[in-house]
Symmetry: C2
Subunit: 356 residues, 2 copies
DNA sequence: CCAGCCTACCGAAACGATTCGACGGCGGTC
DNA sequence: GACCGCCGTCGAATCGTTTCGGTAGGCTGG
């Protein structure tokens, strides 16, 4: 301890064991024929001289593979992982990485600081990258990843040329939620959309929203517009969490002629809307119907949210499978996963204006 | 595209620019005197030949640093990140890593499979490691990390020789929560403890619990015992989330002479207990007082939990500072952060047995 | 006008492993 | 008994960069 001892290298082991460097290497890498006797001698020598195993860096340099896959998320971890849906995608990824096997380099972009993330990516070693995100201005990061020349997999992002992508059909999925409300008889419907490059908190008609670089909120808005028209009162959230949903819901419910139903673009937002309703003394679903998106399981709201289920963990696993295929040099094609409207306890027909 | 082109190396750039390899390197690493004219020529040559920048692997090999810090969590990501407190610690880490600068290699241990995690760690390149966890059987992982010979920082783990640690004084912190309930006049108090190597779901007196390898639940139980004795009815949770808390709370409330107060070892568990109370028609805090631990902010329970606040993000930041110090070759010492009992709306004096 | 210094650049030696081709010895086959 | 092939081992080249020590040349100061 103390003085930084020179690293014990494979050469010392070979010397100690009285074999050549290459033979010693064979013992550790497992590739190649080595007699059991020699192997044992080498292993013994390794413990004698205190060898810590092949240096991963040197090994990577020679093999041309680092065994690392970069996973790039679009915000700071605190924000990203507040939504259990994001966590489930990550968990799905991780579960397949274990098999590949690959390690996960987690890169976040706090404050949308893509520059810093891009710099770190440029100087990190990895064999492939997965990037998440409903569509941030991924420019710098994407450029860096492209420059690396490694296989790329995108998840829930805008379509990008020559990047394999896993996602869902956002538009019809969102339309299904809107259609469900319309069928129940609702006519005054509003919506809460995921964070995008639109000012949050203000209620404006949907057609005022561009959300150019944010395909997920945009496509889902289009889905809603397909059913309900593009004048739906809409508010953008600041994050995909309960609190942001509550704020957005409060804004929507504070207008003169409040909606009888609200479409939220994530379950976390929807749950926030449910809270906002409660704060105004409204009961869900009696006074207000709410739909979510994602299909997370949560335990504190006594009911089950009516929501558009999408398989989060499976999305992660699919993305990881794409990574594996690309690393193996196989062709990989976009994957579109199915979604399903799950009707729960948060939607009902609107209350009749007058009884009788 | 298609055929795997040979990597463009710094040598080609140097050749193209008509300078030596070493000069070209100087241009990219920034260290050393290069005239602006030459530098420009080299950069131009780089774009001409399509150089993608210095290979991080080769660079790491030569420099002896990879710029990566491994972060080892004790379970699968889905489980770990369900508790916002864990996420805040990770976020704290990440925020300082950005400054170091370092990238984060996230290593999970699904199903407590330390073997797989250890293997992956052994073959991954990193300069230091941080490991979390209330005290899993970290044996294999810890051995691997030790064998690597890199600086280690532990967070909320049992004390380990020669590993720098950041944590809190668990025992008095837990005692404070128990004392608060005692002062309010509660006598029938039960507790929910974090997952450990004890069978979950069964109610037994605290002195039946050993939790040998899990220091956090153990130390907190001791803290409670310091105030209330060691016969407190206790149940272990299966995870630190709302659902596990609800199950545990239900078990504690189902006994013949149910408690009037419950100490939970995390806020997520406490919130689950609140739900369990609601399901039995009990009001918190009128019929049941509940204390948590951590001090997370959540928005769906209308009140504020009485809890022991501990600074999660700061813990992460402190750990990262230790990493930075160790990487710089400086000495680093254990850090113990302060905690504070925050009295909220989930505790009150017990209801008088008979009114009047 | 010369000694000496600083700047800009270069050559070569690492960093620590993997892997390809070659080589000697051994057993099996005709 | 000669030949063929295989198994175990070795030498040497290589992965792509950084960095140390040295050298040429221009500039300054005496």
């Amino acid at each position: 301890m103390g003085g930084r001892a020179k690293r014990v290298t494979l050469r010392s082991v070979a010397q100690e064991a009285g074999v050549s460097l290459s033979t010693a290497s064979l013992v550790f890498s497992g590739a190649g024929a080595v007699s059991e006797a020699t192997a044992a001698r080498v292993r013994a020598a390794a413990t004698t001289v205190g060898y810590r195993g092949p240096d991963p860096v040197a090994s990577s340099l020679r093999r041309g593979r680092s065994g690392v896959v970069a996973v790039v998320v679009e915000d700071r971890l605190l924000t990203v992982f507040r939504d259990p849906y994001a966590v489930s995608r990550l968990d799905g990824l991780a579960s397949v990485f274990d098999e590949i096997p690959a390690s996960m380099l987690l890169v976040s972009q706090p404050d949308g600081n893509q520059g810093a993330a891009a710099t770190r990516l440029a100087s990190s070693a990895f064999d492939a990258a997965v990037f998440f995100g409903c569509g941030p201005d991924a420019g710098p990061v994407l450029d860096t990843l492209r420059a690396k020349g490694v296989p790329l997999v995108a998840m829930d992002t805008p379509v990008v040329d020559d990047v394999v992508r896993v996602g869902i059909d956002e538009r019809p999925a969102a339309a299904a939620a809107a259609a469900h409300l319309a069928e129940l008889g609702h006519t005054r419907i509003a919506q809460v959309v995921l964070p995008c490059d639109e000012p949050a908190g203000r209620v404006r008609p949907a057609h005022d929203y561009r959300a150019e670089r944010f395909s997920t909120p945009r496509d889902r808005m289009h889905g809603v517009a397909d059913v309900l028209g593009d004048a739906v009162p809409t508010v953008a959230a600041t994050a995909s969490d309960v609190d942001a949903g509550r704020v957005a819901g409060a804004a929507l419910l504070a207008v003169a002629d409040p909606p009888t139903a609200i479409v939220a673009q994530s379950d976390m937002l929807a749950l926030g809307v449910v809270l906002a309703a409660g704060e105004r003394g409204l009961d869900v679903p009696r006074d207000l119907s709410v739909t979510g998106f994602d299909g997370i399981t949560q335990s504190w709201w006594p009911g089950r949210l009516t929501t558009v289920e999408q398989p989060g963990a499976e999305k992660g696993r699919e993305a990881a499978h794409l990574v594996r295929a690309l690393l193996a040099g196989e062709a990989a094609h976009d994957v579109t996963l199915p979604t399903r409207l799950r009707v729960g306890d948060s939607t009902a027909p609107p209350r009749s204006p007058a009884p009788g």
